[in-house]
Symmetry: C2
Subunit: 624 residues, 2 copies
Amino acid sequence: MNLLDLCFGKPLAASDERAEQLGVASGIPIFGLDALSSAAYGPEAALTLLIPLGAAGIAYIVPISSSIIVLMAIVYFSYRQTIAAYPGGGGSYTVASENLGVFAGLLAASALMIDYILTVAVGISAGVGALVSALPKLLPHTTLLCLGILVLITFINLRGMRQAGIIFMVPTYLFIGTLLAALAFGVFKSIVSGGHPVPVAMPPTAPSSAVAAASVWLLLQSFANGCTAMTGVEAVSNGVRAFREPVVNTARRVLTIIIVLLMVMLAGIAYLVRAYHIAATDPGLPGYQSVLSMIVAAVAGRGVFYYVTIGSVLTVLALSANTAFADFPRLCRAISLNGYLPDSFSLRGRRLVYSQGVYFLAILAGSLLIVFRGVTNRLIPLYAVGAFLAFTLSQAGMVAHWKKNKGRGSGRSMFVNGLGAVATGATVIVVLVAKFIEGAWVTAVLIPALLLLMMAVKRYFVRVEDEILTREPLEIAAVKPPMVVLPVYRWSKPIQKGLRFAFTISADIHVVHVCKEDQKEQLKDEWASLVEEPARRAGLPVPKYVELQSPYRLVITPVVDYVLMLQVENPDRQIVLIVPELIELHWYHYFLQSNRGELLKGLMLLRGNQRVAIVNVPWYLTGT
Amino acid sequence: MNLLDLCFGKPLAASDERAEQLGVASGIPIFGLDALSSAAYGPEAALTLLIPLGAAGIAYIVPISSSIIVLMAIVYFSYRQTIAAYPGGGGSYTVASENLGVFAGLLAASALMIDYILTVAVGISAGVGALVSALPKLLPHTTLLCLGILVLITFINLRGMRQAGIIFMVPTYLFIGTLLAALAFGVFKSIVSGGHPVPVAMPPTAPSSAVAAASVWLLLQSFANGCTAMTGVEAVSNGVRAFREPVVNTARRVLTIIIVLLMVMLAGIAYLVRAYHIAATDPGLPGYQSVLSMIVAAVAGRGVFYYVTIGSVLTVLALSANTAFADFPRLCRAISLNGYLPDSFSLRGRRLVYSQGVYFLAILAGSLLIVFRGVTNRLIPLYAVGAFLAFTLSQAGMVAHWKKNKGRGSGRSMFVNGLGAVATGATVIVVLVAKFIEGAWVTAVLIPALLLLMMAVKRYFVRVEDEILTREPLEIAAVKPPMVVLPVYRWSKPIQKGLRFAFTISADIHVVHVCKEDQKEQLKDEWASLVEEPARRAGLPVPKYVELQSPYRLVITPVVDYVLMLQVENPDRQIVLIVPELIELHWYHYFLQSNRGELLKGLMLLRGNQRVAIVNVPWYLTGT
């Protein structure tokens, strides 16, 4: 067990839980990394679509960013109310299912799950993408690098939340600090120079306008891409339970800081993009440079500061996946408590983490990374639909909540959430339409598929419970001892032990000997002296000796067949199959033994029925 | 089970075995592919070392090839005798261990195992290497291609020998046919032109001599490299059992054909290399072309015939791995029958193949391919040591054999095998010395390591047998019924069933209820009506109700602790833990259930002792 401790930390008791809860400083990296890091790809995704407009397109970033910031403010006020109303954790799933019914809740849950999976995939692929464009030699290993980082993050998360917070705090605050400093310095320079700052490192000049004016469709698409900057905002309200007391205040403070930081970043980026005339470069072509890289280089030149900033961007992008790892398992737990996912999702592991959810997320995100070969551009169109659908259902649920819980200020609250629902609902439609062909259709297929799957899981559990649960008292009539079958390959101490055990539970014992092709049948000859006489002397019934032939060289199937035959011939009896098993001293001895016992048990369970039970009689090797 | 049938073929009975045996035509591809295909890399490996001598070096190929052909003839006559003396399979392992003792046998076995693993790795990497130099776009995927081919070959071999023979027959005979035709045509042209044929496609001209004359050291190294052409000759004598009756004659005929073909190829290649002045090109540099490719192009030009020949070379190289797949599992079986490997190696699977050996070989060869990234050049120096060490031990064993079995002609036979032993033994030393630094040291480390591992396995089995085997009759005194523990989470039909089973084997039943943090303790309140009253009415003893607390949220550990506590308090009693288990209707439902039952069994076995047994009482869901 020491190896386990080393890898995953010592097991924690439930009473240690308090200590694992988060304050403001550690809550921001845990729940805000996803939201904050999206500043690195959101504006760029919007600008990339404006490339055809050339230099003339740059100016459009200001209205687009402004509308995203306004949308974000609306969502912020909505979620503040949600946190207060649901201090036990007010994720979209909880809010939608409590107020709009099971179906809406599951729809929100599916949308969120898809969103979290994409968060992990996009975060990692964006980080690796940036790393790879800095070190082109690594390009052929993109997928492998993505999977390596995924494994690392999974590992960190299995160790539990608090350590995760400490590990992620440094890069997050470095990212926030350097990016804000770069933006502030740029804005200062721009104002001092009367709006015409001179870039330290010249950004590539945008081609002159190829298209006369922006079409509404193009602006909508650009807005839809830019909305990816808002993903991750949901995390705080879903994770309220993880915060330190008073949970509502701590959570609200964390949410406020995250949203304000994100707004400042988006506004700063938009301002500097226009001031320095920075146009996006095509991610597919040589000479590509990310928008953030161009801004920082223009403001501060390509010195130490540039590399620290870009380094922290890379780190934070790759680690933004962590938000999903903090939140996805909690979501799965909530769903599983309602029976729509297996209950293993609600069991906390050794380190108070819902380990099953962590594994599940890692596997799904890994599959996405493999299918899309770790290329961010192919993943972006799948994104945002899930997040905004969850936002909409959550806000709509809050409207219903205020309708039910009328009180002081509930009218105002209902208006705030209603505005949020309308705004985010409209955004879902815009994003879905604008990016349907590029990939949003994948999400539009996956979300209902997941929904149906979860409903099928629930149906299954209801059916099983109907079948096995009962309030009837125990029915019991005449108690007959079982018939016992003991398979024997060679006469040994474990077999003697199995036989002694058989005597303790029944007088009706069948010792079954499977003949191997090329083995002398010693056992039959010695049966009388080895077993029959000792049994008679002890005044016990003599076990029956049965010899089985095996045409397929299998030593297992004939035993199972014999048990089934016995069971058919004795309809009023319970049959017990005894499986003697060697238990090794060391785990690596496992590979040395034939796993015959396990195969026998497995096959017996597979082909057995209500009247067959299996007994493992272990024999512990002492090594002496 | 239908999926299994489709992938691996229907299971075969032991009585079907005759039909799976091989004649001459199907035996050549199965046991000769490795030996024959080494004509494609052996001469080239020798020539590559002569590159520094420039055009002057070409002539040395004739004496080097001649000595290899002489060595091959010696080995051939040695093995003819082995086949006759060991019709049950006369691999180096059998011969060495029977005549020179266990240690020599295991040394031969280790050497052979390493050799087979390298055969697979080198065959596949050489094939892929050639493919990749034809299609440079595939270069970054070398390792992946190698592993893909490995999986394919593994799969074919798991389906059984005969199908494997048919699949490999076409490319083998195509290879033999086209290569012999090319060589014969070339020799004919050369003779007609008085020893100065005009190449159809000009081979690259060799640079003029940089070094004045060949040193002995260089010639030795070249000879050592060329000896890789002889690997694979062992296969026939090891696999005699697989041939059709009369086995000795069939096997000898196959061996003769393989050796003669190989000699003709080596001689033809050496002759044409000199006649056409073909120097090897550096495999690491651009413009590289394999020696066989240059010969065929010089003789026949780069037409359809060229591409068919080269295509069959590629296929055969990649498939040469198959020889090892036919032979390695048989070797492992022989070792395991003597107890130096786990006995799962001697169990034939559904298709009469020793499946375990196939898996083992695939995994080891796969590891080599990954470590050496599928580059043949890095693997070649590891090769040949194992093969020649096995040859030597086998021939030396035959000498001892004739010494023991004196009879007509045994003196002559002893001389033949003695000559073989001396010749191959000298070759081992040459190869080991000449290529020690380049990689033979890896083999020199691996062979003893494998030897020690197998001896440790044997020691383990001897120890276990000492501990468990007995000729003592059953000891049995007073039979006391066991104490029974039944863990209960909720009152259900499977639990009722488990309880009814408990009544059939004992009167001393402890029902253990683990309390979850947030669960109402209904069971305790209803215990009297659900269990106690029905038991009293049926005249049965009332089970004891025990409630356990779980600080670590674990529902399993407390049960195990309780069983262990009971066992300590009752030193004269056997304890039985009953584990009710739900058996699903469909395999995919498995993922839905918590595997609590399995975990409980596993942990109980791990922490239990000789007085604790485990009963699985399965409950089969009906789906209604």
